[in-house]
């Protein structure tokens, strides 16, 4: 706090010093016009400052706006700050303060002009924030006088955000110009923009008020329509990008949630109803790791997620293997009973978590590097957390592929999935493979939970909200091949998001379900069925 006050004081001093030196350099005529002239004179003088782009006038204008300029008689113009005063005409300090000072009258019109002038002058400030604020201020209320200044600033500006704002402002001023060519040029420039505000601006040109168009010239209207279409195309493209992105994001979440399920389902022919709860276990494991880091290593807090990933995997895998050993292995060959038993397990897991952590949602914080997002377009921001999850899903998928295709365990898992009896005859220890594969599937659920904790609520019901969707992925994708799960998850994610935009979330879900039911008519074994000859019992 003290430091803040100190630095503020330094700034103030600096400002004063600048004021004093700058004031001396100002054209006395300008000072006189501003101090003694009528409102019209003042406006004219301000206009001159704007078109001149004289940065030295900035402190004077600011002081005028703040009410710090006072006159004495008809020959002294004082800049009064606290108890010190400077005569702006001579540049000399005046003390003591004369008694007969008059405030310079600044009416609303002048005040507005001053604001604009200050903003235009600030456009050439070195700090980005100052320029940005100035550009924002100019956006509402800039008039033709500021146009040259804005154009000049636009030419020099390098920051894309400020540039965009300025361009918009410039165009909106030019749209009101009397000269047709200027208006046309402005409209053509607007066609380049991908800012949603542009659309409003162009719609304004095409607006009809009481039977007459706001814009009287048909050529200009035609051009505006064309530009509008161009802008709309860009906006649509932006929307498309963000929709595809959120579809891929949902798809990667579904993929994480379903890939473990597909493994256990392929292996045992049983959908593990407790899979959702294993996801929840992973999320809570992340929560616990987060709390440990916060307590014992607050400095390394941002790294907790790296540590949480293996912990979530191992915790969920251990829980899964324990379940397989204690319950599920006794039910092989009775898939419907296994379904019910795993449901029972899910109830117990949920209630256990509720007993330990409470029924309320717990807070899992994102590490700092995950907040914010990647700005793809003005209207499209892709959050880092989502991008991280997509990358994470891709990584998990790659590891899974390596494990299934390149390791001995993977070979065994594939063998048992394809033909349990034959694998057993060839010496594959199927009970061991079952346990490890179940652990692997559960561990993957744990990873999904770790990822989900970063973008959603973590509560005892976490698993329930993803389970039906991940079942659908498995049903659609078929078992035995990762590719099926991948296509099904991404496909469902994207289709879901597109339908959502068109019909709302609930109807989209229902439409997807109906689609799946019809799809299974054609391919009862899912997208990618294992090829081979099977006889059903």
């Amino acid at each position: 706090m003290n430091g803040f006050i100190a630095s503020a004081r330094v700034l103030l001093l600096l400002a004063l010093a600048m004021t004093a030196s700058a004031a001396a350099a100002i054209d006395p005529q300008l000072v006189r016009d501003l101090a003694f002239g009528e409102s019209d004179d003042k406006i004219k003088a301000i206009g001159a400052v704007i078109s001149g782009g004289d940065a030295d006038a900035l402190p004077l204008l600011q002081a005028l706006l703040d009410g710090n300029i006072q006159t004495v008689g008809t020959d002294q113009v004082l800049l009064v700050k606290d108890d010190a005063a400077t005569d702006l005409l001579t540049g000399k300090a005046v003390s003591p303060l004369p008694e007969n000072r008059d405030d310079v009258v600044v009416n609303n019109r002048v005040r507005k002009g001053l604001g604009m002038a200050i903003a235009t002058l600030k456009l050439s400030a070195p700090q980005r924030e100052v320029r940005l604020a100035a550009a924002r201020e100019l956006q509402d209320g800039a008039d033709e006088d500021t146009l040259p200044a804005i154009s000049g600033a636009l030419a020099k500006e390098s920051d894309p955000e400020i540039k965009e704002l300025l361009a918009l402002t410039q165009a909106s001023i030019q749209l009101a110009a009397k000269d047709k060519a200027t208006r046309l040029a402005a409209i053509r420039t607007l066609a380049e923009s991908s800012n949603p505000a542009t659309k409003t601006l162009l719609l304004g040109v095409l607006e009809r008020k009481g039977g007459n168009y706001v814009e009287s010239d048909p050529d200009v209207r035609h051009e505006a329509e064309q530009s509008l279409r161009a802008v709309e195309r860009k906006l649509d493209a932006g929307e498309m990008i963000s929709r595809v992105f959120s579809g891929i994001s949902l798809g990667s979440i579904l993929l994480l949630a379903a890939v473990g399920l597909a493994i256990t389902y392929g292996l045992m022919g049983v959908i593990n109803m407790a899979h959702g709860e294993l996801i929840m276990v992973g999320a809570y494991a992340t929560y616990v790791v987060q709390n440990l880091f916060r307590k014992y290593a607050p400095g390394a807090f941002d790294a907790y997620l790296i540590c949480a990933v293996p912990v979530a995997f191992v915790t969920a895998a251990l829980v899964g293997m324990a379940l397989e050993r204690s319950v599920i292995r006794f039910l092989y060959g009775r898939p419907l009973e296994t379904l019910l038993a795993t449901w029972g397990i899910s109830l117990i897991l949920m209630q256990t978590v509720r007993t330990i952590f409470g029924a309320q949602n717990v807070q899992v914080e994102n590490p700092a590097w995950m907040s914010g997002g990647f700005v793809a377009m003005t209207s499209v921001v892709l959050p880092w957390s989502r991008i991280a999850i997509i990358a994470f899903a891709a990584l998990v998928l790659a590891l899974m592929w390596l494990l299934l295709a390149r390791t001995r365990l993977g070979l065994f898992i594939r063998a048992v999935t394809q033909n349990r009896g034959m694998a057993s005859c060839n010496g594959v220890p199927t009970p061991r493979v079952d346990m490890l594969a179940f652990g692997l599937g559960s561990g993957l659920a744990g990873l999904a939970g770790c990822a989900l904790s970063q973008i959603g609520n973590v509560g005892p019901d976490l698993g329930q909200s993803y389970i039906v969707d991940s079942f659908m992925v498995v049903v659609l994708g078929g078992v035995g091949q990762l590719a099926g799960t991948v296509y099904a998850a991404l496909g469902l994610g994207i289709v879901n998001k597109f339908l959502e935009a068109w019909s709302g979330a609930v109807l989209a879900k229902i439409a997807v379900l109906v689609f799946i039911i019809f799809f299974i008519q054609k391919r009862p074994q899912g997208l990618f069925a294992l090829k081979g000859r099977f006889a059903e019992a």
């Binding site: 389902y265 898939p335 029972g344 397990i345 109830l347 209630q351 009862p524 006889a535």
Partner: protein, 374 residues
């Protein structure tokens, strides 16, 4: 419904009815009827309120509710126990029957609602000016009663046709039915769907002109439910002991062989599936006036799976077993949720695991094996 459906006029048919149950079975059946139709009404209506033998409203409602569940468990036994198709979406048919009846009950509230409007309160709240088209005629009891049968029946028929035609079975079928009820739950949660959103239907005032909370109305609903349960029990028994029932059991045990023997399982499955859904719908319709509320949570996947556990606890493929299973589990549930609310899910979860592991034939199986090996 109860008598006419399976009483052919010729003598062989009558004999067949008598053969449905053994003599011991008929005695038990008569005893159950006596308790439900005589003892309960006596204890509730005739015995004075301060007597220790008086059955309070609570118990009548609870048993009425449990009997509705027992009907559902019976329906589940037909499709799962006898045909081997595990539906995890029966809660949907139950709720659809309930909503159909609920529409009638909502309209018989008349202007007695909070806003004194012709429309139900939730519609006034949504600023709707008139009933949506699907509410037409629901102020007529018989139309609503027809909906109770038609809505679940048609949905089950269409869904079942597509599902069975492409030979979706086993776990796949279970999962799809679960998704079906889940999607329906989401749909009914929406306010715009026109069924009261989250809150569903409640605050009923009267049924067929009788005040819904009066003891006699309550008792009448109870009796109708009991009659429906006993009637469906006979109907189900009649079906499973018929040739049709044999084919169903064969489909359960070896569907491919049934096909190779020249039967098309599609129509058998479709018949029993649709019938099961209709029975569920009727149970739902009886449930709503007694419990006084119907909302989308009845369609939640968890509810449907609970139905399966009633059937499993009682013993699949025994008809009486699931009825008892529903009674036992639900009595347990109402005791647990009052005495040890936080342990109910543990108990239920353990029940799922223990029954599947150690009691594959349920309580009925336990009873039968004790009888056989004295």
């Amino acid at each position: 419904m109860t008598g006419t459906a399976f009483a052919p006029s010729h003598a062989a048919g009558e004999l067949r009815i008598l053969q449905l149950l053994s003599s011991g079975g008929w005695s038990l059946y008569g005893l159950a009827a006596l308790i439900l139709f005589v003892l309960f009404p006596l204890l509730h209506l005739v015995v004075p309120v301060d007597s220790p033998f008086h059955l309070s409203d609570y118990w009548i409602t609870l048993f009425g509710k449990i009997m509705c569940y027992a009907i559902v468990a019976l329906a589940m036994d037909l499709i799962w126990g006898y045909t081997g198709i595990l539906s995890l979406g029966h809660g949907l048919f139950f709720a659809l029957g309930g909503y159909s009846m609920g529409m009638y009950l909502m309209r018989s509230i008349g202007r007695d609602g909070v806003y004194q409007s012709d429309l139900p309160d939730f519609m006034v709240f949504l600023d709707w000016k008139k009933y949506p088209w699907y509410w037409s005629f629901t102020d007529h009891f018989w139309y609503a009663a027809a909906l109770v049968i038609l809505v679940p029946g048609l949905l089950a028929f269409v869904f079942g046709f597509f599902a069975f035609r492409s030979r979706i079975k086993g776990v796949y079928f279970s999962i799809i039915t679960q998704a079906l009820t889940y999607a329906a739950m989401l749909l009914f949660f929406r306010n715009d769907t026109g069924f009261g959103g989250n809150n569903g239907f409640t605050d009923f005032k009267r049924v067929l002109g009788f005040p819904i909370t009066a003891p006699t109305t309550r008792m009448a609903l109870f009796t109708v439910t009991a009659a429906t349960l006993l009637g469906f029990l006979l109907l189900a028994r009649w079906i499973v002991t018929s040739k049709l029932g044999r084919v169903l059991t064969a489909i359960r045990d070896a569907e491919s062989r049934v096909m190779f023997s020249g039967y098309n399982p599609l129509y058998f499955k479709l018949f029993i599936w649709t019938l099961s859904a209709v029975i569920c719908g009727i149970a739902g319709a009886l449930y709503v006036p007694q419990v006084g509320i119907i909302n989308p949570s009845e369609m939640s996947p968890a509810n449907s799976i609970e139905i399966a556990i009633w059937t499993a606890v009682g013993g699949r493929g025994t008809l009486v077993g699931p009825v008892f299973g529903a009674v036992v589990v639900n009595l347990g549930k109402s005791w647990f949720t009052k005495a040890l609310p936080e342990y109910w899910l543990f108990a239920l979860g353990l029940l799922f695991i223990l029954v599947t592991l150690f009691l594959p034939r349920g309580l009925a199986g336990l009873w039968l094996s004790r009888k056989r090996s004295p």
